[in-house]
């Protein structure tokens, strides 16, 4: 799947196009033409397309598609940025200082096994059904992976690097900015990727449970209306947005670490 092949770009594009065309054809055949899958269970391509047109042009579930996307993406970004900043800071501190690690560890061990989605009921009790609850849940989802990966990022810096830094008298801010953080950066980005995925998943779930607008509400409404075409549109939107955000993070990652060998 992910094993690089070094094909010329037009070949890869052609293969993908053919695969897509094939998938589309299979979809149409299985649902509408042959009726193997009942259209009530899974919509034929035309119905999905119809739903797409509807939500883009007229709107569905209190808004048009771009309204929903904007809302969800903005919420996720805000929550993710705040949670990751806090998580990375704590993780680095725990990695650099055994004292901080010892004190913070118990609370962290308590929070860590709780799946992000499990925070939803508690958030709703404490903060109601609005955006505040969603932010709380996103925070809890994104916080933990950032802490863990920043921590391991510091710990996996090889000992000779630390010794060289000591020999070269790297101290204070310089030590953090020029040794600790760059050394941990690859791991930090792994954590950020996981945090982003968790944030996104959690937001969609939170919106499914209760919200006015956002991608999750499309799914919720479509389920209630028994509108399979719209369900597909909702799922595809969730997948696409998630993918784009992950790619965006990857782009930032490559810019931030010009010294990395790209695998």
């Amino acid at each position: 799947m992910k094993v690089a092949s070094g094909q010329p770009w037009w070949r890869a594009l052609l293969t993908t196009a053919l695969a897509l065309a094939g998938a589309l054809a299979a979809w149409q055949l299985l649902t509408a033409t042959w009726g193997v899958i009942s259209p009530a269970r899974f919509p034929p391509p035309l119905e999905a397309y119809g739903a797409l047109r509807q939500i883009v042009l007229d709107g569905y579930s209190n808004g048009r598609l771009h309204d929903h996307v904007l809302r969800s993406v903005v919420l996720v970004t805000m929550g993710f940025v705040v949670a990751s900043a806090a998580g990375v800071a704590l993780g680095l501190a725990m990695g650099a200082s055994r004292v901080v690690e010892a004190v913070a560890n118990p609370v962290f061990l308590l929070l860590r096994p709780i799946p992000p989605l499990a925070w939803i009921p508690l958030a709703i009790v404490w903060l109601g059904l609005g955006d505040a609850a969603k932010m709380m849940v996103i925070f809890m989802a994104a916080f933990v992976p950032s802490v863990i990966n920043s921590y391991t990022g510091v710990r996996q810096i090889e000992r000779p690097i630390f010794e060289a830094a000591a020999m070269l008298d790297a101290r204070g801010v310089r030590y953090w900015r020029e040794v600790l953080v760059p050394g941990a950066l690859p791991s930090i980005f792994t954590g950020l990727r996981l945090s982003l995925q968790a944030s996104w998943t959690t937001l969609v779930a939170a919106e499914l449970v209760g919200a006015i607008a956002g991608l999750g509400t499309i799914l919720n409404q479509a389920a209630q209306d028994i509108y399979p075409g719209m369900i597909v549109v909702g799922m595809a939107s969730v997948a696409l947005c998630g993918w784009i955000m992950t790619q965006g993070l990857g782009w930032i990652e490559r810019r931030a670490m010009p010294w990395r060998v790209v695998h």
Binding site: E158, P160, I161, E163, A164, A165, A166, M167, L168, D169, A170, R171, R174, E178, V179, P182, G183, L185, M257, P258, W259, R260, V261
Partner: protein, 266 residues
């Protein structure tokens, strides 16, 4: 007049409730601008000696001092060249070499002068903007050596610096180090298990026994080197043909052989 002095140095480790004596009663003086190599079997504690001079480890008994001051912590006055290079992967060659100079607060013009000088000397021209991962092992070690020399340190401590390189690169690096050392004489403590390397590079060779490490014998190479004018011989293979070289090499080998207990797998 920088000298390294080991006075009655002991190093005892505690592991699994037992005491290991790694070093016992080491007494050694490295004179100003002298190149001393320590050879010994694996695990004899030679690296530990160097690390104590660097301030990366501490003796359990006795003192290690550099230039009259007892060593407490690492610092740029005792520059270290590590076996694994230990360059910062996220910094370019130039930035790596510059790092210690910034710690010392050296002004920009002087920094530039020094860095360019050693980059030229180590054959790193054109690679100033490269990252370590783009360089071969030999090149990386050149950067590490430049990084150490550029500090104008009191002493240089080298921990099997060519151990991670392949055989051919190793020989090239030895020749370069000799040229560098003769051009910029400094007090050097050089750790190696390669006998020929020690004989080729050093003024004096310290042979250590196996654990617990003690000083087995100290050999003078300098007088032979000067008498037979090795420094005027271009290639290392020709130096290795010189009679005193052969004699010293064999002698050290014999000493090391004696250390091997039956059944040793290295």
């Amino acid at each position: 007049m920088a000298i390294i002095r080991f006075e009655h140095v002991d190093r005892v480790f505690h592991q699994n409730g037992q005491d290991f004596t790694a070093l016992k009663d080491i007494n050694l003086e490295v004179k100003d601008r002298e190149f001393v190599a320590i050879v010994g079997p694996s695990g004899c504690g030679k690296t530990t000696c160097m690390r104590m001079a660097a301030g990366l480890e501490h003796p359990t008994g006795g003192t290690v001092s550099v230039d009259g001051v007892v060593v407490r912590a690492p610092g740029p006055d005792r520059a270290v060249v590590f076996q694994q290079f230990a360059l910062f992967p996220w910094k370019t060659v130039w930035d790596n070499v510059e790092f210690g100079l910034l710690s010392l607060g050296i002004a920009e013009a002087e920094r530039r002068r020094r860095i360019e000088h050693y980059i030229g000397l180590m054959g790193l021209h054109g690679y100033e903007r490269a990252y370590p991962h783009q360089l071969s092992g030999g090149m990386q070690q050149r950067v590490a050596i430049a990084r150490a020399y550029v500090l104008d340190p009191k002493v240089l401590l080298m921990d099997e610096p060519f151990g991670a390189l392949d055989a051919q690169t190793r020989v090239v690096m030895q020749e370069e180090l000799v040229r560098l050392a003769r051009q910029h004489p400094r007090t050097v403590l050089f750790i190696t298990h390669a006998v020929e390397e020690a004989v080729y590079l050093a003024d004096r060779i310290v042979v250590m026994s196996r654990r617990p490490g003690t000083l087995r014998e100290i050999l003078d190479v300098k007088s032979a080197r000067q008498a037979e004018r090795w420094d005027e011989i271009e290639r290392i293979e020709d130096v290795m043909d010189q009679p005193t070289f052969v004699h010293l090499r064999t002698h050290v080998w014999k000493l090391l052989r004696e250390q091997q207990a039956p059944g040793d797998t290295h």
